[in-house]
């Protein structure tokens, strides 16, 4: 469905992407993870033909991304981090404009507004919405014409847990319809829950690729005990017999406030691979 081969992107001297190769299958949810500034938005721009890569090839549906044209765009839903909403128009009118362009029935508008939880705010000007609400409106616009491929740049940033859950349900429902979804996120839990495959992007290269569970299993070697003491100290001990002595001492002194074992998740894997957390 989507295939990238050795994509390089330079902005002047600054090499943002250094040879990215990826393949995304039809009907899967693919998650691109990476710290801020890793080049996730840049990559989405390249795949959607908004930016021409300095080198490398991008194929979308068998067509070169650089020559995507009108009819192809009609089968794609795109939500960028700059949402591109008309601030003075109401939510409803923002969608109505695109319903006119796509030739979608106007009855569909209320339906998608409901799906993203904005039905109550439908008369509110888009410029007066909160950031999370604007994101949901942009998402509503992206899914309105029932696209075959969805590109979502951080679809759940700035959302509370309830709204996030609602969006996840919407995305899973889209996947049911065999829509291919390419999303970027900072949220590891989200990627683990939704994505069939994830890629970790760091400093312009893909440092890990695979199914979330598989990646976690692969990096299970960390296997630590993390202990926080009442005096504020924080310890990490290897989860084996050598920890017994230390643990016993603290337990006897009643100094342990919390104790956790590290079940590896994408977050810890990411920390390990990049030496830094996700912002």
């Amino acid at each position: 469905m989507i295939k990238l081969t050795d994509v390089v992107q330079c902005f002047g001297e600054h090499e943002v992407l250094r040879g990215v190769s990826l393949q995304i299958r039809k009907g899967e949810i693919f998650g691109l993870l990476g710290p801020s500034g890793a080049g996730k938005t840049t990559l989405i721009k390249i795949v959607t033909g908004q930016l021409k890569p300095s080198a490398g090839q991008v194929m979308v549906n068998g067509k070169n991304a650089a020559d995507l044209n009108g009819s192809m765009y009609l089968r794609m839903g795109i939500m960028m981090d700059s949402y591109g909403l008309y601030g003075r128009l109401s939510c409803y009118d923002n969608l109505r404009l695109f319903a006119k362009i796509y030739g979608t029935a106007e009855g569909k508008i209320d339906e998608v507004l409901k799906k993203v939880g904005l039905l109550e705010a439908k008369k509110c000007p888009a410029g007066k919405l909160s950031k999370g609400m604007r994101g949901r409106l942009a998402l509503a616009r992206a899914v309105m014409n029932e696209p075959e491929i969805l590109f979502l740049d951080e679809p759940t940033s700035g959302l509370d847990p309830a709204a996030t859950k609602q969006i996840h349900e919407l995305l899973l429902a889209e996947q049911e319809k065999n829509t291919t979804i390419f999303l970027t996120t900072h949220n590891m839990a989200e990627a683990e829950k939704l994505c069939s495959h994830v890629a970790l992007l760091n400093e312009g290269t893909i440092v890990e690729y695979g199914e979330p569970k598989e990646i976690c299993r692969k990096y299970n070697h960390q296997n630590q005990l993390q202990i926080r003491l009442y005096d504020g100290r924080y310890l990490e001990l290897k989860n084996d017999c050598r920890a017994v002595g230390t643990l016993q001492t603290y337990l006897e002194q009643g100094m342990i406030e919390t104790i956790h074992s590290t079940e590896p998740n994408l977050e810890t894997v990411f920390m390990e691979l990049t030496g830094k957390g996700l912002v």
């Binding site: 009609l74 949402y83 128009l89 009118d93 006119k100």
Partner: protein
């Protein structure tokens, strides 16, 4: 055609909530109405204010509005979204330009009515305005296309607008200005409207307006080649 209509529709909805643009459309017709009612002097030529304000309207409203709309859409990335929804640049420009032109023609109708023009005179008045507005529209489109954001559009648009809209007024008081102003469409619009009632119109004025239009179109094409619509 569907896309042109959609863009046109969007612009109507937006203008109703956009005071800056709304003011551009109604200011001169409204001022002409008030002044014609309020100021009565002995030696003043007929329709003095309507004629003056009409040429200023031509020089100001289409130019400022068109460049502002384009620049704002670029700044907010809404234009990009439109273009990625299979709206062709030409459809977008036709929809937006057609809208601004129509709105200004509506304003011109008001000006014509305030001036008390009737029948063939009214038609001639609208015809002259239509040409002037179109020329101004191309200038505005060129500025909007050239600009990356609204700041830039304002800082280029305002001086250009001052040139086109105030020269016709100044040229009435100063002979040198009068000579220079003659090369611009807004001055020719004023001259044409003035002559309309009296001794027929000169071909030269139409030629100047046409040349202005062609020059503005060239500027637009250059700007479009360089920056595109994104």
């Amino acid at each position: 055609m569907r896309n042109i209509k959609a863009v046109f529709w969007k612009q109507i909805r937006d203008t109703l909530k956009n005071k800056t643009i709304l003011i551009q459309f109604v200011m001169f017709p409204f001022m002409a109405f008030v002044m014609e009612q309020a100021v009565v002097m002995e030696e003043m030529p007929d329709h003095f204010f309507v004629n003056l304000f009409s040429s200023m309207y031509v020089g100001m409203a289409p130019l400022i509005v068109m460049s502002a709309i384009l620049a704002e859409e670029k700044e907010d990335c809404t234009l990009k979204v439109l273009l990625m929804s299979d709206v062709k640049p030409i459809e977008y420009l036709t929809g937006t330009g057609g809208y601004v032109w129509s709105a200004c023609m509506l304003g011109s109708c008001v000006l014509g009515l305030v001036g008390g023009y009737q029948g063939r005179e009214f038609a001639a008045f609208l015809g002259i305005m239509a040409g002037g507005i179109a020329a101004s529209l191309f200038v505005g489109a060129a500025i909007g296309t050239w600009s990356k954001n609204q700041m830039m559009a304002t800082s280029i648009g305002v001086p250009v607008m001052m040139l086109f809209s105030f020269l016709p007024m100044l040229s009435m008081f100063n002979e040198t200005v009068h000579k220079i102003a003659g090369i611009f469409y807004s001055e020719q619009v004023r001259i044409l409207i003035d002559q309309m009632g009296q001794h027929g119109m000169e071909m030269k004025s139409f030629v100047v307006i046409f040349l202005n239009m062609a020059a503005a179109l060239c500027c637009f094409v250059l700007a479009y080649r360089k920056c595109g619509l994104s």
